[in-house]
Symmetry: C2
Subunit: 162 residues, 2 copies
C-alpha cells in the first residue's frame, strides 16, 4: 500500500503556493516546471485540491491557482485527503460472517474487533497529519533552506505569477 505520488506533488505545490503574495495566481504549467513533473497529470492533483476547496482557480491568461484559505488553516490531512480520498486504508469485508459455526440470522452488534484496531491506527495517522498546517511547513522550510535559494525561488515564482 503506497500513497500516490500525486500526494507528494500536491503537498509541494501547496508549499509553493503558501509563498505567493495574496491575490496572485500561479499556473499549472509553472508549478509543473518548478517541480519537474508532467503538467497534465499534475493538473489532476490540482483539480482534486480545487474540488476540495483548498485552492482557488481562475481561467484565462495570467490565471492559475492560489490557496483558498490562509496557510494556517490548511492541514496536511486536508491535502492528502483531497488527492487520495477519504476512505480508510483498511477495508473490512466481514469475513467473520463466513464462519460456518454462526447461525445464519446472527447479527453482530459491534464492528469486527480486528477492523476496530485497524481503524484506530488509521485514525492516529490522520490525527498526525491534521496537526501540521501549511504555515508550519512554510516555517520549517525557511529554517531548512539557505536564504539564497529561497530568495531566488521567490523571484522565479513572482516572475511567473499572474
Amino acid at each position: 500500500m503506497n500513497l500516490k505520488n500525486q500526494v507528494e506533488w500536491a503537498l509541494h505545490c501547496c508549499a509553493v503556493l503558501s509563498n505567493l503574495p495574496e491575490g496572485r495566481y500561479l499556473s499549472a504549467r509553472s508549478l509543473s516546471e518548478f517541480h519537474g513533473v508532467p503538467k497534465e497529470y499534475l493538473g489532476k492533483a490540482l483539480q482534486g485540491l480545487s474540488k476540495a476547496g483548498i485552492v482557488h482557480t481562475t481561467l484565462g491568461p495570467s490565471g492559475g491557482y492560489r490557496l483558498a484559505l490562509p496557510a494556517g488553516e490548511i492541514t496536511f490531512l486536508n491535502v492528502v485527503e483531497a488527492v487520495e480520498g477519504r476512505k480508510s486504508t483498511f477495508q473490512c469485508s466481514e469475513i467473520r460472517a463466513n464462519n460456518p459455526c454462526r447461525p445464519g440470522d446472527f447479527c453482530d452488534d459491534k464492528p469486527c474487533a480486528i477492523a476496530r484496531v485497524m481503524w484506530k491506527a488509521d485514525e492516529a495517522w490522520r490525527q498526525t497529519l491534521a496537526a501540521v498546517s501549511l504555515a508550519d511547513l512554510q516555517q520549517t522550510l525557511q529554517q531548512d533552506l539557505p536564504a539564497e535559494i529561497l530568495r531566488r525561488s521567490t523571484e522565479w515564482l513572482l516572475d511567473r505569477a499572474g
Copy 2:
C-alpha cells in the same frame, strides 16, 4: 491506497490460531474454509507469516500452521508487516531537487520537510498497531462473541486440528 485483503485474512487466521491448544496444527485448507476465502491465495499470506517467523508449519497430513510465539508476543504490526511489507506508505522522490533555482551541486543536509511529516504519521500508525497483541484481540473477541458461537467454533477447529 488500500491495504491488501490478505492483511485482513492473515489477522483473522492469527485470531483463530490463538485459540488452538499448544502443539496442534491447523491446515491452510481448514483456515480457508473457516473464513470462506480461496485456499491457494490465502496460502500466500500464510507463507508471508511463516517467512516472518510468526507461525510455524509442518508438512504432511495433520500438518498445517500454529503460532510460533505466545499470542501475547505477536502484535498487529508484526502481522501487517509480514504480509504488506515494511516500507513506509509515503515514498519521497526528492522532487525538491528539480527546483530550477537550486545550484546543481547543492546537497541537502536533512530529508525533505514534507517527507518528515508524512513519515511521522506513518510512525504513529505503526505505533498504534504495535500496541495491540493477539492476546489482546483474543480477549476482546471473547467479550464480543456469544459463548455459544465460541464453543462451536472451538469444537469445529479441534475436529480438524492435527
